[in-house]
Amino acid sequence: MGAGWASSTSGKIMNLLDLLHSLVFDHTVRTVALGTATLGIVSGVLGSFAVLRKQSLLGDALSHAALPGVAIAYMLTQSKSPIVLMLGAGAAGILAILLLINITRQTRLKEDSVLGIVLSVFFGFGLLLLTFLQRNPDARQAGLNTFLFGQAATLLTRDVMAMAIFGGLAVLLVIVFWKEFKLLSFDREFGASLGLPMPRIDILLTTLLVVAVVIGLQAVGVVLMSAMLVAPGAAARQWTNHLGRMTLLSALFGAIAGVSGALLSSLGTGLSTGPVIVLCISVIVLISLILAPNRGLLWNYLRQWRNRGRLRTEAVLENFYLMSSQHDDPSHPHAVTALEAVSGAGNVRRSLEELQRRGLATPHSGNTWSLTAEGVRAAQARLQPALKDQP
């Protein structure tokens, strides 16, 4: 494909059209894209809650913990049916949650240490089993090691069906328990004071997080799955202050990343799908962090710059007035350099031009400026409270 991309722009466009064409008409590509879209939606929805509850590390632990579950399910059944492997992964995930809860409750270890312990023990054990299984040619054929970095190309219709059923159920439960999950995420203790069974609601939401992990494993892999849980929600949070819209947007971002990642890696580059999908969602996160209105970095920078400019303009106006009031005639012209000396560093000229635009100051020949009558009044109004405070 390298030649096609490099040759010319038209070649690139042809390639893109081919890609879209195969998305609609090629059965394999369509299946893969449907699968990764499903995983993007489900992890986007559940990930929103994980982000808001500051549980990014939990997703990481749960996805790593799923690996031994996959290996053991295969060893017990010799089946590579997606349902069997998913159930294995899910069981390991739930076991990990139970361990997490109990270790945190019974010891004085902090929750993040416990997460680290569970993550590494489960993942290490999973790798051990995987290495052991690699000696067995049947297992190699089963493609268990795709669970490490993900390989969406291996998704079959039955895999996608299983993903859609589990994922659909998870999303449905989020809709059903929407207000309980919102309360859990915002103010758990208040929920408990209302008599709602918050620990059980917590376990339900965490179990659904396990479902999201399980769905993503085959396509994204255990190593990068946590990124799929955190990134869409983090990106979506940038664009909205409404929980429902954030969750929808997060699902949309997840789906876009899933589909584009699957398509890019299906170009025959031999790239694992997981990393490509994660790169796609990272681009979305980057754009969101920089460009989102109100919360974006660019926006913040602009706001600071504007504030600084406004404050400087007001400081120049005040200083100008204080200088002028030492003369009998308040509209006495002053040199820009004198104002610069009083106002300190900064672009005094730009502030003066801003004052001119507002009709508060006028330029004179010889690089001097004076306040207009309007400007004198504005400065007096600004300084009045400060002047009054003086004894």
Binding site: K179, S185, E189, F190, S193, G195, T240, N241, L243
Partner: protein, 252 residues
């Protein structure tokens, strides 16, 4: 308020974190229709006591009843205002939405808040002077506005007994006034309020009953009977700057 029925009755309440007791054998009777301040030095167990009463942490021993019945049966009669700092105010939601959470307990499973709940939430916001902020994103609120949002959420619970954890903590003068007015209104309606309070100066002005707590119950009852120098000294040890000021004031 025809009879002075006991709104809250706490017996033998004991809470320990690991081995260290935080609350030791506290008994408390609170009649209906009083505003009770819970005061005591840092680490006296004030917040712990509220949480233990509300079942948010499991006491080592003790029993709580509300209007004569076990707390678990009377949850619907109880409202709660947690410490303002206990939640993330950057959560993506609006003021009105937070206030409507006060009704989640009564809505039941599967039901969403509807138009009637919206109306009730708006009127609760009006009572705390926050009606104009209903659609505001909560991260844009000042500390006092956050506190009033939490109070409106508790009003939404339409409770008989309110437990408030430091409602006056770090609020502006407007909010302080609004809370005082609200407390008086609640009392006029025969409701009972227990509030953790830090400013000893304002206890006699804002409250009519007081509990002095320092792991054990030092004293409780009407302010004019139990809010004495002697009780304050035994609750706070020697560290009561407030007492010295009060004495200066009296001698002057």
């Amino acid at each position: 308020m025809d009879t002075k029925q006991l709104a809250v009755q706490v017996a033998d309440l004991t809470v320990a974190y690991q081995e260290k007791p935080v609350l030791w054998d506290v008994d408390l009777d609170v009649p209906q229709g009083v505003l009770m301040a819970i005061v005591g030095p840092n680490g006296a167990g004030k917040t712990t006591m509220l949480k233990a009463i509300l079942g948010l942490l499991t006491p080592a021993a003790g029993h709580v009843s509300i209007f004569g019945k076990p707390y678990q049966q009377q949850r619907g009669l109880v409202g709660y205002v947690p410490q303002r700092g206990s939640v993330d105010w950057d959560f993506p939601t609006s003021v009105l939405d937070v206030v409507m959470m006060g009704n989640y307990g009564k809505l039941g499973w599967l039901r969403r808040p509807g138009a009637a709940d919206r109306k009730a939430a708006l009127s609760a916001l009006e009572k705390v002077g926050m009606a104009d902020y209903a659609d505001r994103q909560i991260s844009q609120l000042s500390g006092g506005q956050q506190q009033r949002t939490f109070l409106a959420r508790a009003l939404m619970q339409d409770a008989q007994v309110y437990f408030m954890d430091e409602p006056f903590q770090g609020v502006d003068a407007t909010t302080e006034r609004a809370i005082v007015d609200l407390l008086k209104e609640l009392r006029a309606q025969g409701k009972t309020v227990l509030a953790v309070h830090h400013d000893l100066q304002t206890v006699p002005e804002y409250f009519d009953w007081v509990l002095l707590l320092n792991v054990r119950r030092i004293a409780s009852g009407p302010v004019n009977e139990v809010f004495t120098d002697e009780n304050l000294r035994s609750a706070y040890g020697g560290r009561v700057g407030f007492l010295n000021k009060r004495q200066d004031h009296e001698s002057a």
